[in-house]
Subunit: 149 residues, 2 copies
Amino acid sequence: MVGGPPWWHGKFAGYGYRMTVPRQAILSTLSKSKKHLSAEDIYLSVHKAYPGIGLTTVYRTLELLVRMGLVFKFDFGDGRSRYELAEGPNTNHHHHLVCRGCGRIIDYSELVDEETKILKQIGQTLSKKYDFSIDSHQIHFLGLCNKCK
Amino acid sequence: MVGGPPWWHGKFAGYGYRMTVPRQAILSTLSKSKKHLSAEDIYLSVHKAYPGIGLTTVYRTLELLVRMGLVFKFDFGDGRSRYELAEGPNTNHHHHLVCRGCGRIIDYSELVDEETKILKQIGQTLSKKYDFSIDSHQIHFLGLCNKCK
DNA sequence: AATGGAAGTGAAAACCATTACCAATAAGGA
DNA sequence: TCCTTATTGGTAATGGTTTTCACTTCCATT
């Protein structure tokens, strides 16, 4: 289920962290989904394969992964956080349209390169001016989807 | 304290809503602050001038104002929502740098026009493609501030 | 192989921002 | 002023997330 040592093993060793079964299982779940999983989603998925893994560990691991930069954490306003793998073979850089009516999230990858080019420039300027080291950015478009307007 | 009928009175009538003392007080507090106030911040401020106003009303009113488009709601990852007046004499369009270490928020207005120009174009494209009506956007740069890196 | 300390884990309880409920109140047109 | 109905405030509930703490696992060192 967890499979052989994937590409992220090195990162853990580098940070001085241990690679454990729960961590592998959580990363595996994240890498297999293209959705924006909540902590509970991940818990249910992981718990099915490894009933011993508890919800607390899921939260703790997600926090660790976010700190390491392996996972992005989002908040779309529905009262729970969402998590996505930051990089890897199955990921593609995208941003989000957030429907304020039903909470639906639409990913888009179109024009993201263009956005990123501009934002990288702006980021550099801001980074110097505010002495702030930027490691990622998020863009949300808010509005109403076809069903809600 | 609340003052004469400000510019937003018309909007309320237009939507068929009543203009009440709590609503005026909350809008007044928001219009006097340039910070990202939490519901509790607003409650404390409003409650000082009008001890009768309850926390529930603050939440309800903020939700209403967000729906009306008068107020923006943000989530910077510290477990509570933040609110800012969307438009008005004292507001200026800006985005945010979010420190993942201490949670500090830095507003920036530099280059926002440039950003907005690009995002407006992209928004139009996405709007058509996904049949999604966009009414605002948010940009967060995530990283570490000078004290945390 | 045994040991010891540190990192990691799970269950349950605590936390705390937000929401639901409901009786009482106030806004605004008739 | 009266009447209808939106609005309000206190309290209790909700539910995602964090804390606590005893226990387990890992791993470098004997």
